[in-house]
């Protein structure tokens, strides 16, 4: 069933999935494939799909569907796998609370507050963008300062432009994509400003979003002041020194009527905090085992709520595992408990999951702290993998074969990423 009315829902479900983005959809499909009869997939938006509904550019789905799709096409391919005879998709409905006994409090615009009980829960609430408050730019509070993702929604879904002459702060992929998008909509994009000495987004986006349209990228430069009372009138930008302190003697004023911020995402974990899940300060998401179970029995997590992903294909893959493990647990199948704790070492910013078990294959997601052209990733003494290129903006996915872990007695396994000398192949 697909509905916007919570009154039509059953009182009990086997699996409840919170958030119907790519993660939630994949988790529900996996639970359905594992034989769960009653699955609830909830989203507060008027339709399923999550953030991909506004990501109209292509570049999704090469791994999952073997072709390059746009965000909305990826959603449509994913939703086609949902069997609405066993999955109830309820939209326009906000999950306000999850009790430790897995009673969910749902708030629907059409039918009000409703409680349903679930056997297991998969958290798939995605992420939200960092806002101006996170970087504290001085100046007034005029209209026209917004996150790049909000501007993306304005332009691609609501048909409203954020301004006529726009400055973008931060070189994350969403900012780069929006630089191109706004240019094609006839908006003047003055430039993209990045405080770090390197760009945060993928190289392909620098080429096809900035170079193709001659949009300048200013590295080691930031916005130090926003001018305007009712509406943004200008921003002041300044280069920064090695300690990222602005060099105000070189500041200059740029007239514009909007400032877009592309300064990163944070996992959306209000419900996780309410549940008092153990959190990982490195990812901003819950700590999970190799079955993607959080510190609370029967509560699983996947996708951006767990750790920020840059490739939606991996989100779907990870969430499918969460859905399958959740269904297994419900049906009384529990794999052996984890015996290896993964500990971030040199140059490792985060690792997910935080533990693994011998005897099974695992996909481990890492983030590097620095950029290396040639690198090697070392898992203690048991396994070293050469990787061509690592950088903080890109997730690294590593497959750990049972053969490696079986050689390890258990306990803490340290992961290091180090640069490797040598020529490119």
């Amino acid at each position: 069933m697909i509905t916007a009315k919570t009154a039509q829902l059953a009182g009990r479900y086997d699996v409840a999935v919170i958030g119907a983005g790519p993660a939630g959809i994949a988790a529900a499909v996996a639970a359905q494939a594992a034989g769960c009869g009653r699955i609830l997939l909830v989203d507060r938006e008027p339709e399923a799909g999550g953030i991909l509904n506004q990501c109209i550019h292509s570049g999704f789905g090469l791994h999952q569907f073997g072709e390059e799709l746009t965000g909305p096409e990826y959603v449509s391919h994913s939703l086609a796998q949902v069997d609405t005879r066993c999955v109830d998709v309820v939209t326009g409905t906000f999950v306000a609370d999850i009790a430790p006994d897995r009673a969910l409090t749902l708030m629907g615009g059409e039918t009000g507050v409703r409680q349903v009980q679930s056997g297991v829960v998969v958290l798939a609430m995605g992420a939200r963008e960092r806002t101006r408050g996170a970087i504290q730019i001085p100046g007034g509070r005029p209209a026209g300062v917004m996150t790049a993702g909000l501007a993306q929604r304005f332009v691609n879904m609501l048909g409203v432009l954020p301004g006529r002459r726009v400055v973008i702060l931060g070189s994350g992929d969403i900012g780069l994509i929006m630089a191109r998008r706004l240019t094609l909509e006839g908006v003047e994009v003055v430039g993209v400003f990045e405080i770090m000495p390197y760009a945060n987004g993928l190289g392909r986006n620098i080429v096809q979003c900035l170079h193709d349209f001659d949009i300048p990228l200013h590295l080691s430069t930031t916005v130090v002041e926003i001018h305007g009372n009712d509406r943004v009138e200008a921003v002041t930008v300044a280069p920064v020194d090695e300690a990222l302190r602005p060099i105000l003697s070189h500041a200059r004023r740029i007239p514009c009527d909007a400032l877009l911020l592309s300064i990163g995402l944070v996992p959306e974990n209000e419900l996780s905090h309410q549940l008092r899940l153990r959190m990982d300060p490195l990812t901003g998401g819950p700590v999970v085992s190799s079955t993607l179970e959080t510190s609370m029995n029967g509560v699983y997590a996947a996708g951006n709520v767990l750790h920020i992903n840059d490739l939606v294909d991996w989100v779907s893959e990870e969430a499918a595992r969460a859905g399958r493990y959740a269904a297994d647990a419900l049906q009384g199948r529990h794999p052996p408990a984890d015996n290896v704790r993964l500990v971030p070492g040199d140059n490792v910013a985060s690792v997910v999951p935080q533990s693994v078990a011998a005897g099974r294959e695992h996909t481990v997601f890492l983030r590097a702290r620095h950029t290396f052209e040639q690198s090697a990733i070392r898992f203690g003494e048991i396994y070293t993998k050469k990787v061509r290129y690592v950088c903080p903006a890109e997730t690294i996915a590593i497959t750990l074969k049972p053969a490696f872990l079986d050689r390890f007695p258990g306990g803490a396994l340290r992961i290091d990423i180090y640069p490797r000398a040598g020529e490119a192949e």
Partner: protein
Amino acid sequence: MTTVTHYLCIGCPLGCRLEVESEQEQIVAIRGFSCKLGKEYAAREHTDPRRMVATTVAIEGGLWARLPVKTAGTVPKDRVRAVCDALHRIHLNAPVAMGDVVARDILGTGVDVVATRTMPLIERPP
């Protein structure tokens, strides 16, 4: 005289750094790719750069005010803006199905523009 031009592959997120060596406009060597697509991209980019275009067109009667669309194939890079400008003049009415052709042979490029989502007609109270 041989010249070496550098490109960054946009075929996938890997972003290989490509090198095209040419002599009097003739490509003599391509280096730095890690798959067939990369090699083809380098040659293409050097002689006839092309891009997919994804944009939106105005639509009435659907859940949202814009319908996402894309070119069904690549168009010459220098026509990208013109394609978007032409699409700005199109106004559709819901319902539209994913894959529906929104503009045939856009600007004579031989490439169709298709809807990338289904937009059902929403019943709204008058």
